[in-house]
């Protein structure tokens, strides 16, 4: 049996398969997350013998009786009838479809549609598991310290499909924000930021992994006898510059509270992001809000996240919802240099791209958009899948090596695949930086074993805060007693944060970086060059160490207003310290 298609418990072999085609894809640089598709036309019928009654038994006799005068009525009996043996109504949306060629699984798909195309033939269309994620919503969130690839993937996929993750990715740190979007869109964001991709395991289920660089991994060789004549090599317009934005989301005390909703609401039955049915409304946010800062009047907050609040109330009521947005900082990183006739590609909405992974992301994008070519050719498919690395000779007999990006498979006695192979692409994956060492005083730092790249972030001393204003004089006393204490002065404005400068260094294990201070600036010396924070920039949001979740270089907070003097004064607390009002003034003298 060459081909087989299983739908639920029904099996179709070559005698029932009229046609079958699969389109298998592998997103290369992670800029797309496509899904495989499968279509087939199947004969759902079979032939059955008709059981003749005893009175018709003469119809089955042989030809030895030559005295018979007329056989016409006997021999035209057609004792086989063709009947439907499968129920297409059972092939509902989401039903599993398994396609095999030569007993090897070509793919596991899920039913999208099923339509009748002739008396006994039905055409089915199915998609790979990722396609199912396109119909479901993920409520996103802000991912900070402790968020790993596996935890974020679990949040996104939410049990919608079975999957496993390459162990090398499981504990990679993920930082950033995901908006409310389809599960497929948010999985795409995660894969894009971490250089991961979706492949299939031996059961056809999703296996989240990464493309191993061809230079480091042995690749299968595709012999010429499995490559059809024809084909072409395309040299796409190369990107001249890649622009990528790093993102950081910080729950900052400096952020002002915002009104997120203010108006009349009518309660409805809603299904909350946790799957609970509630009476009220779900409010979605365009930008992430610190959940703990949410307050509502006129309704209760039953559930909340960075992108939503579930409000419970009854009837029609006035509701006000307020909260503090996360402080969102971005940093622009580039590779390449745009020429006059430039082809600049910008990636600014990938909100899981951050200081930890941006290097790997932009290098991957540059390798793909700046270097890759594509070879299209037809091949005899013998187990190849999209994403596989191949060594082969291209249509013009030049040796080539690349990844299968697309494979349009036509099933027949052999499986013929229209392959698009990306050559010249070296993918990078994961976080470029995984650890962070903090130096708060002069000294040296020795590059640990295995480390070849470091990013030094120099942060200078912040500016001093301004003096607070003097308090007012107390009221004059009288014979009736002391006058009231004077009002405290306004607190002084906080100083600006220190200057921040980022330097990427290529190092070797055992090398030493020397950290020092000069005035208000921090410095690092390496390779005979001394770098200083003096040429850095101040930032209203400082610099966040995403590994530990610390933020440095923030502007100072404004001082608190002074308290009223005694009598009648009150304590003033700030930053853990408490100041009490001064004693009442000295008794005045009085003369006749």
């Amino acid at each position: 049996m060459t081909n087989r298609i299983d739908i639920l418990t029904d099996q179709f072999d070559d005698s029932a398969i009229v046609s079958a085609n699969a389109f298998l894809v592998q997103s290369m640089a992670g800029s797309e997350l496509e899904f495989d598709t499968f279509d087939a036309t199947l004969d759902l019928s079979a032939y059955f013998p008709v059981v003749l009654s005893p009175s018709d038994a003469d119809a089955l006799r042989g030809w030895t009786d030559e005295t018979e005068t007329d056989h016409t009525g006997i021999l035209t009996v057609h004792p086989w009838v063709r009947l439907l043996v499968h129920d297409p109504a059972a092939y509902a949306y989401g039903a599993a479809v398994l396609a095999y060629h030569d007993d090897a699984l070509l793919g596991k798909f899920y039913m999208q549609s099923c339509k009748r195309v002739s008396r006994f033939a039905w055409q089915i269309e199915a998609v790979s598991p990722i396609g199912l994620l396109d119909k479901q919503l993920h409520y996103g969130g802000v991912y900070g310290s402790g968020a790993t690839f596996s935890s974020v993937a679990a949040s996104i996929i939410g049990g919608a499909i079975p999957y496993t993750i390459n162990p090398a990715l499981v504990n990679q740190q993920v930082r950033g924000w995901l908006p409310v979007a389809t599960r497929r869109e948010n999985l795409h964001q995660l894969l894009f930021a971490m250089g991961a991709c979706v492949q299939k395991d031996d059961n056809g289920d999703v296996y989240i992994t990464y493309l191993s660089p061809l230079s480091q991994t042995p690749t299968a060789t595709l012999p010429d006898r499995r490559i059809y004549t024809g084909g072409s090599v395309a040299y796409p317009d190369k990107a001249t510059e890649i622009v990528l934005y790093e993102h950081a989301f910080l729950a900052s005390a400096l952020t002002a509270e915002e009104t997120l909703f203010d108006g009349q609401m009518t309660a409805e039955s809603v299904v909350s992001p946790s799957g609970t049915t509630r009476t009220g409304a779900v409010v979605l946010f365009d930008e992430p809000i610190v959940p703990s800062s949410l307050t509502a009047t006129g309704a209760n907050i039953a559930e909340s996240g960075a992108n939503f609040a579930v409000l419970t109330f009854s009837g029609t009521t006035a509701v006000t919802l307020t909260g503090k947005p996360y402080a969102h900082t971005i940093r622009r990183v580039t590779v390449g240099e745009a020429a006059d006739e430039d082809n600049v590609l910008t990636f600014e909405d990938a909100t899981l791209v951050n200081v930890l992974n941006s290097e790997a992301v932009i290098n991957r994008l540059w390798s793909f958009y700046g270097n890759a070519n594509t070879v299209t050719m037809d091949i005899v498919v013998e187990g190849e899948r999209a994403g596989d690395g191949l060594a082969f000779s291209d249509p013009f007999d030049d040796p080539a090596e690349g990844y299968i990006a697309q494979l349009g498979v036509s099933l027949s006695g052999i499986a013929k695949g229209a392959a698009t192979v990306v050559t010249g692409y070296e993918p990078t994956t994961g976080n470029k930086f995984n650890n962070c060492a903090i130096m708060v005083s002069a000294g040296t730092w020795t590059v640990p074993a295995g480390v070849t790249d470091v990013r030094v972030v120099l942060i200078g001393k912040g500016q001093d805060g301004n003096d607070g204003e003097d308090g007012e004089d107390g009221e004059r006393g009288s014979s009736g007693g002391y006058g009231a204490g004077g009002a405290g002065g306004f607190g002084g404005a906080g100083g600006n944060g220190g200057k921040i400068r980022t330097i990427d260094l290529t190092v070797a294990p055992g090398d030493t970086l020397t950290v020092s201070w000069s005035g208000d600036n921090s410095r690092v010396a390496y390779g005979g060059i001394t770098y200083s924070s003096s040429s850095g920039q101040r930032s209203a949001n400082g610099f966040t160490d995403l590994v530990h979740g610390h933020t440095f270089g923030l502007p100072g907070a404004d001082g608190v207003d002074g308290g009223q003097g005694n009598p009648g004064g009150r304590d003033v607390s700030f930053d853990g310290d408490t100041w009490t009002p001064g004693d009442k003034g000295q008794d005045g003298s009085w003369e006749e």
Binding site: T76, Y228, G413, I414, K416
Partner: protein, 123 residues
């Protein structure tokens, strides 16, 4: 030994000339064949199917009419002696009836036909 030929459960074995029973096998190919880069042929073989050619003995008009009527069906189950497996095998066949020629008249007005070539092609 007389070859077996049963069409739609009706045994025609005695109705055929046992010396005219021939079976050949034709290769069925799909659309994925072609030429490989190294110049070799890529064959997309779907199956090898039997083609049976027989000549009937003389048939009465009614019997021949029944055969012609069956030939109008797409496919019919045929049990036949299969030289490849050296067994009797059943499969669906399409039937083509060749030139029919009247041979003689018999008492009672029954029309007889001379040997007629029948080609059965496996589905």
């Amino acid at each position: 030994m007389r070859p077996t030929l049963i069409i739609s459960n009706v045994d025609y074995s005695a109705a055929i000339n046992k010396y005219s029973y021939t079976v050949t096998y034709e290769r069925r190919e799909g659309g994925n064949g072609g030429t490989a880069k190294d110049g070799s042929t890529i064959l997309d073989i779907l199956a090898y199917k039997a083609v049976i050619v027989i000549e009937t003995n003389g048939l009465r008009g009614g019997d021949l009419a029944a055969l012609v009527a069956m030939a109008q069906d797409d496919f019919l189950p045929v049990t036949f002696t299969d030289p490849r497996s050296n067994t009797t095998r059943t499969a669906d066949f399409h039937i083509d009836v060749g030139e029919m020629r009247q041979a003689m008249w018999k008492n009672g007005g029954i029309v007889w036909y001379a040997a007629t070539k029948i080609t059965l092609t496996e589905r």
